[in-house]
């Protein structure tokens, strides 16, 4: 099951840019802009492909359909994730609704409650590299303005932010973030453990029009601990969908249809 949990945090992800700003923003205002990029402002579904590269060669792949809706009270995303591949995992589901998290296997027809720690097993923590609500979970400090190459080797003028965790929901204690000036496109992120160890490096690119905004369709995650490991998260088929709140409970897991 644990392998299946990889990617489950992804649901809250993706989203993108806000309108260009004319006045120098504060660090927290930049973060708000990034969150607007992440949040399309309506419930949606998308298809996400996680491809793992070991020693620069594709070694593993998982395809998911993600249903996401923001809880307006908590500002957290509720997510339903359904596995499309590999074949051994077809139809398996993960529910994340705050701390109410369940895993469902259609073969056994059993729902198992999982902890936030279990959610982060496997490559799942990759999802948190791009998770939403940075403004809620982190306090930002502006370190400066820098010109940085993005994943396509194009120079981007960026704000360099230093984020410190400010809520229990924050997965990483510290994050460095580079945000393109004017668009609030995330360009790069570096994610650190409590001890200050660099865990992951993320590049956001391939911005495309999705649900009324330009959003990164691919995130490249470089594992800073396992030097041979790189994971890409590619999202497609992003659609607005009316998702009732009743979907985000364990008894709905057997009812979710990916078609």
């Amino acid at each position: 099951m644990n392998r299946l949990l990889l990617g489950i945090a992804l649901a809250a992800l993706f989203i993108v840019p806000a309108a260009a700003q004319t006045k120098p923003p504060t660090a927290q205002e930049i973060l708000v802009g990034v969150d607007k990029v992440r949040n399309p402002g309506q419930p949606f579904r998308l298809t996400n492909v996680l491809t793992e590269y070991t020693n620069a060669k594709p070694s593993d792949r998982v395809t998911l359909v993600v249903f996401a809706k923001e809880n307006m009270q908590t500002q957290q995303f509720s997510n339903l994730v359904r596995y499309i591949e590999p074949v051994r995992d077809i139809g398996k589901m993960v529910l994340m609704n705050g701390s109410n998290m369940w895993f469902y296997d259609p073969s056994s027809k059993v729902s198992v409650r999982i902890s936030p720690q279990q959610r982060l097993m496997g490559q799942a923590s990759d999802g948190d590299v791009v998770t939403a609500n940075l403004n809620k979970d982190y306090t930002a400090q502006l370190l400066g303005e820098e010109t940085l190459e993005d994943a396509d080797r194009v120079n981007r003028d960026c704000w360099h932010l230093d984020l410190k965790a400010s809520s229990d929901e924050a997965v990483y204690s510290r994050v460095e973030y580079w945000v393109e000036k004017g668009t609030n496109h995330p360009v790069k992120g570096k994610f650190y453990s409590d001890s200050g160890r660099l865990l992951k490096i993320a590049y956001y690119h391939k911005f495309v029009e999705q649900l009324g905004g330009m959003r990164p369709s691919e995130t490249i995650i470089i594992d800073a601990v396992d030097k041979n490991l790189v994971t890409t998260m590619t999202n497609s088929d992003m659609k607005a969908q009316d998702i009732p709140d009743s979907w985000f409970q364990r008894d709905y897991l057997p009812r979710v249809k990916a078609d």
Partner: protein, 453 residues
Amino acid sequence: MRAAAAAICVLCAPALAQENSDLARIPQSVDNAAPPASRAHGKYYVEDDFVLSSARGDLLVALPTPPSSDWTNRSSFDAYDQWALDEKLSFTFSDRFNLTEADGIGFPAGAARNDLREAYFTWQPVPESYLEFGRINLKNGIALGFNPTDFFKTRTAVAQASADPSALRGDRLGTVMARAQTIWDGGSITFAYAPKLHTPRPLDGPSPSWIDPSIDQTNTADRFLFALNLEIEEFSPQALIYHESGRTKFGLNISHPIGNSIIAYAEWAGGSEPDLIADAIAFGKSTGTLPPFVPVLPPTSTAHAFRSDLAVGASWTSVAKITLNLEYHFHQAGFSGTDWRNWFDTAAADPPATPELWYIRGYASDQQQPMSRHQIFWRADWSEAWVRDLDISGIGFINLTDGSGMVQLAANYNLSDSWSLGLYGGGTFGGRRSEWGSLSNATSAIFQVQRYF
């Protein structure tokens, strides 16, 4: 201003060069990623399990029918799929066909076996409300090792290689029933009715034909279930009422996260019923396996009383990707220490009674209920142990009265998206006058291969 900015850029240059050097680690093949898969349902695979086992030679209470083979090979084709017939109607099918080889098994009569797990229609007349008809696997219960509220588990077990309760729960027969469910924001209600369609098959009766759906195991009484799920303060309580043949049982499931890595849970069911011995002997007599005049052995009261079943436990997950589950199981109808002493003493004093004594244990297994009143269950899973595609796990039961138990360790490795290998090893331990130490099976090893399509 520009000069200042230029100065900052100069100062930042080494750092930026470092930042840009991260790009060198992005593989070129990233740009050639394959498109996402289009199939969204259906799971089909073949599996082969080769089992080697060793038997105890010094059983205190001899088995009526000793095992005839110390090896078994089972080849299976497993299918699960769902089809949307129209916007509101769908069909679900789940089935497993087994071909077994072992000493003493005739071919093909005893070798082939088809287990129709599920075949049912789902109609959704209004959003989030469902009516279902057919053979359905209806499962309840939050615990892993013993599920008191899994009322439809009785007599549904099929041949299994693994002793893991999760495997037993995953591959079992469904029950022919009608089920209605409605889900709303914050809860759900389920009502199920399973009719009596057949008289019960005797426990050790002749093997049915390979295609027999075993309705005479799953639908031998009128049964009703009402379940209410609520999402309250992260406890996710579920209350259940179950009725079968004049007996009503109540059930409750509850769970709650503790911190970031612990889930605590409890599952309880209770109702008026006889104890295990009286229940088993009554079933044996009613199905003709035991003569009507045999006394109830070991001696016990046949009276009904309110009895409880409880599974309470917690799971803990470490940052090292290890998940541990520990559960305590209380089965009030099960054997106490006195019952176990009586079981062994009766066998010693009255050897012709041993078939009846073993019948009780077979009945408990068939009902998927613990033999003993108090036991511990543990489970450990280590995901991505040493290498990415290797999972190592273990399960075990310990009888708290006599200290005997069983252990099974497993290693599963995914060779590719389509191929998986599994290696299982385990055994039972305990004294000759203990629950697990009195069983024939001493050790076993399983080699498993799976190929998905």
